[in-house]
Amino acid sequence: MSVVSDTQPAPRRRRARSLVKSLLGFLVVVIVTYLGLLAVTFFIGRVIPIDPVLAVVGDRAPANVVERTRQELGFNEPLTTQFVIYVQKALSGDFGRSVLTTNPVMTDIKRVFPATIELATLGTLIGAILGIPLGVLAAVRRGGWLDQIVRIIGLIGYSVPIFWLGLLALLIFYARLQWVGGPGRIDVVYEYTFTPITGFYLLDSIIQRDWSAFGNIISHLALPSLLLGYFSLAYISRMTRSFMLNELSQEYIVAARAKGLSERRIIWRHALRNAAVPLVTVIALSYAGLLEGSVLTETVFAWPGLGLYITNSLQNADMNAVLGGTIVIGSVFIAINLLSDLLYRLLDPRTRAR
């Protein structure tokens, strides 16, 4: 704790300086983490397989292709040199070619990633918008019926296999009740009339004022995004409840009551504002969880995103594509962590001035 005296610089300037310092620290952490990620994928791709070339081109490739690839990829070099080259290529976004699609892996990923982002973002939004108020109310009325419901939602969300719940949801709401669109992002009939621009279909249909496509996209999005939203909600509401219980037992809450503030203001303005600091991390983790969970959900919903791309490549032993996808998801993880750390610092004055 710093003690105020008149000789210290103005608080704002001190905060700004420490922010620059912590940003530099962040940068180092990010670089080290990213190198670690590349080292692990390098290890998985080049060291574990008995013949990494076969892992790259597939074991059905003719012998001359194998030999040429071995040369091209520099597999005759020592491992350290290979790793340096690997890092250089990865940094420039070159993950090699996919055997399955014959495109550069990066091109494929650019095409499929928006679908994954769209779904995960919507899911997290649903989870946060519903989960935070639910968690707050559960903590405020601890032991009440709402608290029990949040508890049950949480327990089931932590225990149920997401792909199984997705299958059942498809069976009930698509096949039996026909309330929603089925697998995929959009009906086949729209494939000729609807042109993606950004890759975020919801956005694209709005830009083009194609309302019939918009409705169809919503009907396809509804089930998977609600399902992901449920998992996000289970996690966020449970954590919100726990943070809120912790905050509500603090002395500053007693002080706020002694000031005569209304319960509503105490809960939403003071307790939640304090709980928001760790909640940022939770929401970020939830988003990251949905991104990596996409390998399962997208398989169930035939959602043409990065998860489906990775699992399809897996089944075809397309290691370049698998590792490229892994690196991209890993990079997004690192970015999300970084972002939530920064946001944490912005929200909590205690870390700001350190």
Binding site: L37, V40, I48, L168, T326, G330
Partner: protein, 316 residues
């Protein structure tokens, strides 16, 4: 045991002392009595929690079913009757119906419990000791050892666990052993963090200083005095993680990367039932219920253990 080892519990000193009073005595005369007393108090706290008891019962039932699968299962889990028993709905002969190979689903679920238990136990006994070792060494040594080990831990924590496990299994080749390795490799970092935090708390306490003054080596201090202290929070965390491990293993099985056919792995069973979901929904539904039940059991048990062993964080 120790120098002053009082290993045999003394005969109940005063005959009027009931067993319960002996356990709850606040002046235990031996280490064993103190230990048993503490365990008894924790058990009572645990047993008060009805949900935790349900969790315990589910897990005990799982273990029991796994052990006596040969006795319980009415049919073979791997050989079915393709001619007459394909995709039958639930009936008296086949309580949960049959799958596309004509195999009894209930029998497959019963044998599948062995695989689930196998994965969970193996992951726990691989990942927990790794995390414990890294965490305690890091926390006790401090300095650059701590910095390096924690950096590595943080790197692993920042990775997408499931995707990394997928890539690892893809490189190692599908199979249940490789799935176990992949899950274990990606699940130790939280344990290291917990063990380190506990170690930091006790590192500078007086009794650790006392042990140090008596000339105990750092290895002995970490092994004999610090690791046991980390156990209770580690056990709680591992139990709570069990559900996640089961779900990840099932996910790998669902993607065809875990246990290979004809092994009755629950996730793989859902995957094969997926093709018939529209008309024969029970094929995919039953293994999902099994996964849900067992995960729920571990979650309830973990919550209960946490509340009993660590009352500070109870209810949160």
């Amino acid at each position: 045991m120790s120098v002053m080892g009082n290993t045999t519990p003394p005969p109940l000193a005063e005959p009027q002392l009931s067993r319960r009073e002996w356990l709850l005595s606040d002046r235990p005369t031996s280490r064993t009595q103190a230990k048993l007393g503490r365990a008894y108090v924790a058990w009572r706290r645990f047993a008060e929690n009805r949900l935790a008891l349900i969790g315990l019962i589910i897990i005990l039932a799982l273990v029991l079913v796994a052990i006596s699968a040969d006795l319980l299962a009415p049919y073979s889990p791997t050989i079915g009757n393709l001619a007459t028993a394909r995709l039958l709905p639930p009936s008296w002969e086949h309580w949960l119906g049959t799958d596309d190979q004509g195999r009894d689903i209930l029998s497959r679920l019963i044998y599948g419990s062995r695989l689930t238990l196998y994965v969970v136990v193996l992951v726990a006994i691989i990942a927990a000791p790794i995390g414990l070792l890294i965490g305690t060494v890091s926390g006790y040594a401090g300095g650059w050892v701590d910095a390096v080990l924690m950096r590595i831990t943080d790197i692993f924590l920042a990775f997408p666990k499931l995707v990394l496990a997928l890539a690892l299994v893809a490189a190692l080749g599908p199979g249940i052993e490789n799935a176990v390795i992949a899950i274990a490799v990606t699940s130790w970092p939280p344990y290291a963090r917990i063990a380190r935090a506990e170690t930091m708390q006790v590192r500078n306490s007086d009794y650790i200083s006392a042990v140090r003054l008596m000339g105990a080596s750092p290895i002995r201090i970490v092994l004999r005095h610090i690791m046991p202290l980390c156990m209770s929070s580690l056990i709680v965390r591992v139990t709570l993680d069990m559900a996640g491990i089961i779900l990840t293993a099932a996910g790998l099985g669902f993607l065809g990367l875990g246990a290979q056919p004809p092994l009755p792995e629950w996730g793989a069973m859902i995957a094969s039932g997926r093709r018939f979901i529209l008309d024969q929904w029970w094929v995919a539904a039953a293994p999902g219920v099994a996964i849900l039940l067992v995960s729920l059991g571990f979650n309830l048990l973990g919550d209960g253990l946490r509340d009993a062993l660590d009352p500070r964080s109870s209810g949160q």
